[in-house]
């Protein structure tokens, strides 16, 4: 980022959270992940990492639902 550390809070306040910007963040992140792990000879590791995170997320889910365990 082209910002100095002292000016970081001020620059964060100037961000505008438009939907196109938010979707851009997710799109760029997913393209980076895809090109690094899936778009290769061994695309199995990329897909299985996604599935492992999905399983872990579903395991943690009851602990995030308030007082239900």
């Amino acid at each position: 980022m082209n910002v100095k550390i002292e000016e970081l809070p001020r620059s964060i306040l100037m961000w505008d959270f438009i939907p196109k910007g938010i979707t851009g963040v997710f799109q760029r992140g997913s393209y980076r992940y895809y090109n690094k792990y899936v778009n290769k000879k061994g695309s199995l590791t990329g897909v299985s990492m996604v599935l492992a995170v999905y399983v872990l997320f579903n395991y943690i889910l009851p602990f995030l639902q308030g007082t239900q365990t």
């Binding site: 000879k41 695309s43 996604v50 999905y54 579903n58 889910l61 639902q65």
Partner: protein
């Protein structure tokens, strides 16, 4: 015990927000799109599977029926991938909810019926009376055929729901039995564990077969009506 058994079928929420929509959209991540002629392994395998399935399923239709190819292919991909993802531990399967399966079955069935009534009205109405019935049986048979027509979407939805829910429940029950038996008698626990492995293999097959059956029946209703 009762609460634990059916708790896995409750729609998931995270801090009060329903995230079930995110879980329904999750399988689409596993089917990347591509702009190239020669793709990576994942996309090539998926394209080969889609071509195999579409050739096998859509050759029986005429031109009008083949306009439904995109719909039926996305249907079988969605139901198949959702059912298979539901076999992962702790995951939520949207196709266990009758509301969702009715939401898929009724519009598709209604689409085929309306298409039949619009383009071939006489032939669509003629389906209500099979050929060669005795005259005194005609009123009753028309009623029976009407009922059997209106039961088709219900049967589609309930078949998918019941198969997937029953499979998940059986896995829960037999897994719980294996755990409980491990302290009491390890040899019986081994037998139940082998049963659990066979059941899981069956569930993998059922997941894919149910997707195929759903799509095949919709395509059959389409074939009758085009």
């Amino acid at each position: 015990m009762n609460e634990n058994l059916f708790a896995s079928f409750a729609t998931p929420t995270m801090m009060g927000l329903p995230i079930v929509i995110l879980i329904i959209m999750f399988p689409s991540i596993l089917f990347p799109s591509s702009n190239r002629l020669i793709n990576n392994r994942l996309i090539s395998i998926q394209q080969w599977l889609v071509q195999l399935t579409s050739k096998q399923m859509m050759t029986i239709h005429n031109n009008k029926g083949q306009t439904w190819t995109l719909m039926l292919m996305s249907l079988i991909l969605f139901i198949g991938s959702t059912n298979l993802l539901g076999l992962l531990p702790h995951s939520f399967t949207p196709t266990t909810q009758l509301s969702m399966n009715l939401g898929m079955a009724i519009p598709l069935w209604a689409g085929t019926v309306f298409m039949g009534f619009r383009h071939k009205t006489k032939a669509a109405l003629a389906h209500f009376l099979p050929q060669g019935t005795p005259i005194f049986l005609i009123p009753m048979l028309v009623i029976i055929e009407t009922i059997s027509l209106f039961i088709q979407p219900m049967a589609l939805a309930v078949r998918l729901t019941a198969n997937i829910t029953a499979g998940h429940l059986l896995i829960h029950l037999i897994g719980g039995a294996t755990l409980a038996l491990m302290d009491i008698s390890p040899s019986t626990a081994l037998i139940t564990f082998i049963i659990l492995i066979l059941l899981t293999i069956l569930e993998f097959a059922v997941a894919m077969i149910q997707a195929y059956v759903f799509t095949l029946l919709v395509s059959l209703y389409l074939h009758d009506n085009t």
